[in-house]
């Protein structure tokens, strides 16, 4: 099976400071890859550089689009980058308020990406929005409510619906469950696990939570100080960590 995304020797520096350095990985269709590491390890920088939200200092990111053609993301025009983000990608932010449009209703938030793709049939937009609210376990009668009236967990589920409604091929997620309490977190993780399976999504998810990686990702990348210190099957990394930093991370997990 051929890769969907190829990252090679990717570096991003903030002036003299290293954001991430020399990162390479492949992502295959239908695969969820976790990037773990503590705060400041460069995982969010890496995610943003891969998703073409930040401009890398060196290295390349290639993406194979729906028609099979490989795109070099560094060489993309703004128009093409936005087209990809609209038609083939999704991005879920840690704080749902950054990913949602707070001054319009939940339904409009879900329908917006469809309208951006040119859908102009109100009743269909509405039916699709309702269907997706149900899929993320939001009562569809709340379709006309403002997201500001939703709890944090509901807002995050709304953001997931808004992102997945266009059936993207590749989704980037930046700590989608951080900042939510444990029961809410479990619900969102279960939801993500199910949707990723049902839709056959490929995804790159940043998390500091090893349990999240174990639940969702077949493969994991461990980062420290901007560099990849270990990469492989998630269960391998968690059960037989090789690098001192990974061993420290694994031994720091609280067990109940």
């Amino acid at each position: 099976m051929s890769a969907l995304l190829q990252v090679r020797d990717l570096s991003l520096h903030y002036g003299p400071r290293v954001g991430c350095e020399d990162v390479s990985f492949d992502l295959h269709p239908g695969e969820l890859l976790c990037i773990v590491g503590e705060s400041g390890s460069g995982k969010s920088t890496l995610l943003n550089a891969v998703a073409a939200q930040l401009t890398p200092t060196a290295g390349s990111v290639r993406y194979r689009q729906r028609d099979g053609e490989w795109l070099e993301l560094g060489a993309l025009s703004e128009a093409d980058r936005r087209r990809l983000a609209r038609e083939e990608w999704g991005f879920v932010t840690q704080n749902p308020r950054d990913g949602l449009r707070l001054n319009v209703s939940a339904g409009a938030n879900v329908a917006e990406r469809l309208m951006a793709l040119g859908m102009r049939h109100y009743s269909q937009l509405r039916a699709t929005a309702r269907h997706w609210l149900e899929r993320v376990e939001i009562d569809p009668t709340r379709i006309d409510d403002a997201p500001t009236s939703f709890s944090g967990g509901m807002q995050q589920r709304l953001q997931i619906a808004r992102t997945l409604v266009t059936q993207p091929r590749l989704v980037f997620m930046d700590e989608p469950t951080a900042g939510l309490d444990v029961s809410v977190q479990a619900r969102i993780l279960d939801l993500l696990r199910r949707l990723v399976n049902e839709l056959g999504l490929a995804a790159v998810m940043v998390t500091h939570d090893l349990a999240v990686a174990r639940l969702l990702a077949a493969r994991t990348i461990v980062m420290q100080g901007g560099r990849v210190v270990e990469t492989g099957l998630t269960d391998q990394i968690l059960d037989d960590p090789q690098h001192p930093y990974t061993q420290l991370l694994v031994s720091s997990v609280l067990t109940t």
Binding site: A186, D190, A218, G232, L233, D239, P244, Q247
Partner: protein, 233 residues
């Protein structure tokens, strides 16, 4: 006719380097060889600490071997899991290599039936058909039907273990690794598991397992493979 060779371990060593404990080194396996054929059920025997579980985990590629090779016959070609890419390992796990441990890894909010059906769905079977097969497995293992739609987090140890076995055996895999899957089962249920394993073997699966219970061992083993702890040796 001799049965096909399915798994071959050559000069396998595994040691753990504990960076959190001043780089202490723990040698568990050294120069280990083993051959497993289709249709046989090899039971590892030996005291605790002999590295039986570690061996199974190394074969499953859950642990990375320090030295040596884990050759697996995967869809009519041989693959060394010690050198395979993560994607190859995942493919081998999906289709060839099954692993059943003592413990069910519970996924929050997912009902028992779906936990059992999941590997079959990953194998490429459609969801409804996989659920029907899961229901068959659960009923064979005497898991009461009222539990099927519940997440197994609150089940008893024995119930969880039977769900786990159903999940582990639902896909007919050419190689099965079993790490004391029957530890908390009563005699009746152990007998059912033994029956299922015998069926798997006669269907051509190669089984490598750990069973502390002697009765179970005698029922299923076609061959015993003794192991000893390295430090004692």
């Amino acid at each position: 006719m001799t049965a096909a060779l399915m798994l071959e371990l050559r000069d396998l060593s595994k040691s753990f380097e504990l960076h959190q404990q001043q780089g202490a080194r723990l040698n568990v396996l050294r120069g280990f060889d083993l051959r497993l054929h289709a249709g046989e059920c090899v039971v590892l025997s030996g005291p605790s600490g002999a590295g039986k579980s570690t061996l199974l985990r190394v074969i499953y590629a859950n642990y990375r071997p320090s030295l040596g090779a884990v050759h697996v016959r995967h869809q009519d070609r041989w693959l060394d899991l010690a050198k395979a890419t993560p994607h190859e390992v995942l493919d081998v796990r999906r289709h060839t290599l099954g692993y059943v441990s003592q413990f069910l890894r519970v996924i929050p909010r997912v009902p028992a039936l779906d936990i059992v059906a999941e590997p079959l769905v990953a194998h490429g079977v459609d969801v409804q058909q996989a659920r029907r097969r899961a229901a068959y497995m659960l009923s064979r293992l005497n898991v009461p039907e009222r539990l099927w739609q519940l997440p197994p987090g609150t089940f008893s140890g024995g119930e969880q273990q039977r769900v786990n076995i159903a999940r582990g055996l639902i896909v007919p895999r050419p190689i099965l690794l079993l790490d004391e899957p029957t530890a908390s089962l009563d005699a009746d249920n152990r007998a059912i598991v033994a029956e299922l394993l015998a069926e798997a073997c006669s269907a051509g699966s190669a089984v490598l397992g750990i069973f502390h219970d002697e009765d179970m061992r005698d029922r299923v083993a076609t061959r015993l493979f003794p192991m000893q702890a390295l430090e004692a040796a």
